[in-house]
Symmetry: D2
């Protein structure tokens, strides 16, 4: 019989992810700072706990899916935090997106209680979370990742073991860095072409018909064609992620010139009070229409 | 009955492209500076002419597929050049890759003879040329592009009318600029990830499993994984293309920061005497292994 | 009669600065974590205190000259910290180099005790500290800067009131950013010239004979000419300062492209284990001799 | 008795330079496409010739001071060009600013006539030309540079022998590259400081009081303080010079990242129709006020 699992954080991502665990037949206990947000899970058959501490006393595996380091710290080590219930045999899985240096530190602090740790940020947002098609980027000991795999399979379509604790976060950051530079690269190409008299619609057709075509570009096509940047992933989040990537480059000694460039471009959007628009608005920076 | 077509330039691209015209049933006349290279076409049923001048006197449509501006100039305006046979009703189609400013100038000079002009560089190399799956990027008057379309359909899978004369070349350059920045972006991501302890194989798996996946990255996967950069598209050609793009940015006032960056990176390969390797060798620049 | 002054931090800078206060006839009390380092001051006639707390109880003005935020925090708010003696009428002057955001926060925390605050980092190192020729970059209320001016005049040749608290630190960071980009700019010019066959000695002569000549370039001439980068200001410190500048650019929305570039160049030195050399070693990065 | 000298090009620079030769007692013959512009020289005692050919038949040394490669080509190799009078023992000195690759080519072409060649662009503009305080950057054979030195001494305060033919032009370009990056570096520092609340006047004071102070910054102080960029050296010329520098970097394999950056910044001014303002207007680019 599979181990019971606890889930802290009933946000946009947490609710569908936990629901998929319930649907897969696992014994799921959930909690959230605003406890009302647990209702969809209660309706689906999950147990609702008062606090992370409460969860960690009941279940051997505890997932956190929260907004960032501060919220994770609060959930694990704050008042009523999960740490109170940690010990040998317990496994903490942080699926929140956090910097790799924080993940490594978290692994150490959880380890101090005798418990195991996996960092497992996801690639994909609300829709894939609902559909159970997330890609899960896991960092930790191989046997613990294996232990977590049945749960990951309920939430995602693919689990990739990236290496020791912290590797999941580093992989997520690496992907985001490529995301940022690919989209600003496309925007630059469109701006360059327009200066030479080309129509952006025709350029998008050509790119999407050839070997450079990819889902990201297809997804952004209408936003770029219309200059209406309805937020799917806000520019301010990209700016923040790239800032974290620069911090990491500084720590590890990676060169990262395109990341430096992209960080500046998305920051210019934020500085122009357009950080809430989709990050494809970087097109306006590059065509001089800020 | 379709118009007869002439084809100047029996190189790696020219031979298969002209063969596809013959196979499609067109009346094809070919020539080449080294006349022996016309043999496969003669064998297939094409007429062989002595010179471009000879061609332009026989056929209303003349294609040039040569190594660059100098060779095109020679073929059109040199001794025995096609210009001698140009006049009202004739159509010159330059499919060689050349800078947009050269294409515009060429349109003007061909126009001086009363003839029409299309610039139509292709996206795709030897294999697609053989398979007739090139993408043809055409610039010129709409009626002339329509006139040329049956021939383009024999050589390619798709023809895109990009705008007036010069637009095809500008489109080709825009695509190459994106090609250069996307591949150096992937290389940077891999170098960044490795500094954080990730395996490049795992990273390539993750990228190719997600929304950023594209044919270019898939094609370069083994080269990047092995650091054996068997040339598909040599770095020195990318360096040259990006230099032309910077020239064009200077002329048109486009900003193009990522193109400036990529131009430097590929140039560093050339400066390190590695310009003959595939342009994916830019990975070695970014991981500090030059 | 002038107010008595306390001085916390008897390091390479602190000792000569405090000695100049004694020589100017002020009533000076000093302390240091390792109390023995106060000996030169005791010999010169200064009072030695046991702790920062001890100092702040005796003197209305307290200077801190320490290695960074952590040491300053310890000196002011740690056990035996100066905060215990703070109150209305007291003035804390932090002359240590710290990020502007830390300075602003420090002003607020000192203000919570009813005391006043100036941040006053210096431009210049050991020699100017001994000669009393430092330039003092002061941030704070005008009347408090005026109150501190007699003491600044004993330690430096010039005091510049940069604005409210935090402005001194921001000015210091701005100057360092220019320092970093000017020197890497000179290095790039030399590398560019050498590729064209010019002698670096001749280039340095030309630069130093013309309108671009400045003390920094003159000071680095021999290091650049010889490729022997005896540390005057280690590359790792420049890399750190530029990283702080990028953090600040991210916070304030400044663009700062040359700072991004310089940050990468100096970081490459650190990544190549050459962070202890003088920052003029950036020349080796730019001439491809890392 | 010194050799007679001819001077082609009576522009803003040429007139005062040739006048200084006359004042120094040399036997000077001048010419200009618009012959009326030779009047000040005739008044001062110089001989006026009809054409460059006429000059080269009279004088063993011929100076050209013209607007660029095209004008130099016309003066030397055009109709009535100086080439007709060239031969063994003659010396051509081109003082016009041209790309190094052009200078090297020119040396070869002049050499074909058996004559010697020096490229000798100057550092300094109208005022130093009048005052005879130019810095002369000479490239060529040592004995020829020695031969030219008495004339250079009449026109400038300093002659620097930079190496073989072409070296003068490469030195000029290297200096201009540093000029461009230093001024955009200062502009970036001011923009960065302003975002942190500093006054630009105070920042300029601090920079000009310290080891980074130089004549260039002093000269641009008022323009930067007022955002009134009265042209001393127009941005479009800097943009063009940096474009030539990028061309040269591409040819020689120099890296030149700051030059790439500066080229983009000045080009943005030109693209915004502000190329006629002083190049210090790059401040408006960096503070987001384009």
């Amino acid at each position: 019989m599979p181990e019971a699992i606890g889930f802290v954080g009933m946000g946009i991502m947490g609710v569908p992810m936990a629901l998929n665990l319930v649907k897969a037949g696992f014994d799921v206990t959930v909690t959230n700072r605003t406890i009302e947000k647990c209702k969809p899970l209660a309706d689906a058959g999950a147990t609702v706990a008062e606090s992370p501490e409460d969860i960690s006393k009941r279940t051997p595996i505890i997932v956190t899916m929260l907004t960032g380091p501060q919220a994770v710290d609060q959930a694990l080590f704050g008042e009523d935090g999960a740490a109170a219930g940690l010990g040998k045999g317990k496994l903490v899985i942080n699926m929140s997106s956090v910097p790799p240096s924080y993940s490594k530190d978290l692994a150490r602090r959880v380890g101090n209680y005798g418990a195991s740790f996996i960092d497992a940020p996801v690639s994909g947002s609300k829709k894939p979370a609902e559909d159970g098609t997330l890609v899960i980027l896991a960092g930790g000991e191989a046997d613990q990742v294996e232990r977590a795999t049945p749960y990951f399979e309920a939430m995602g379509k693919k689990t990739i073991h990236c290496g020791p604790a912290g590797s999941g976060s580093h992989m997520k950051m690496s992907i985001n860095l490529l995301l940022g530079s690919m989209l600003s690269g496309l925007a630059e190409m469109l701006a360059f072409g327009e200066k030479g008299g080309l129509s952006r619609e025709v350029m998008l057709n050509v790119v999407l018909a050839g070997p450079l075509s990819n889902e990201l570009f297809a997804m952004k096509r209408d936003l770029l064609a219309s200059n209406e940047y309805t937020p799917q992933f806000p520019a301010k989040h990209m700016a923040k992620d790239l800032k974290f990537a620069l911090d990491t480059a500084h720590e590890t000694g990676a060169w990262a010139p395109a990341t430096h460039l992209a960080a500046q471009l998305y920051r210019m959007l934020v500085a122009a009070d357009r950080g809430d628009e989709d990050f494809s608005a970087v097109f306006d920076v590059l065509r001089g229409a800020l």
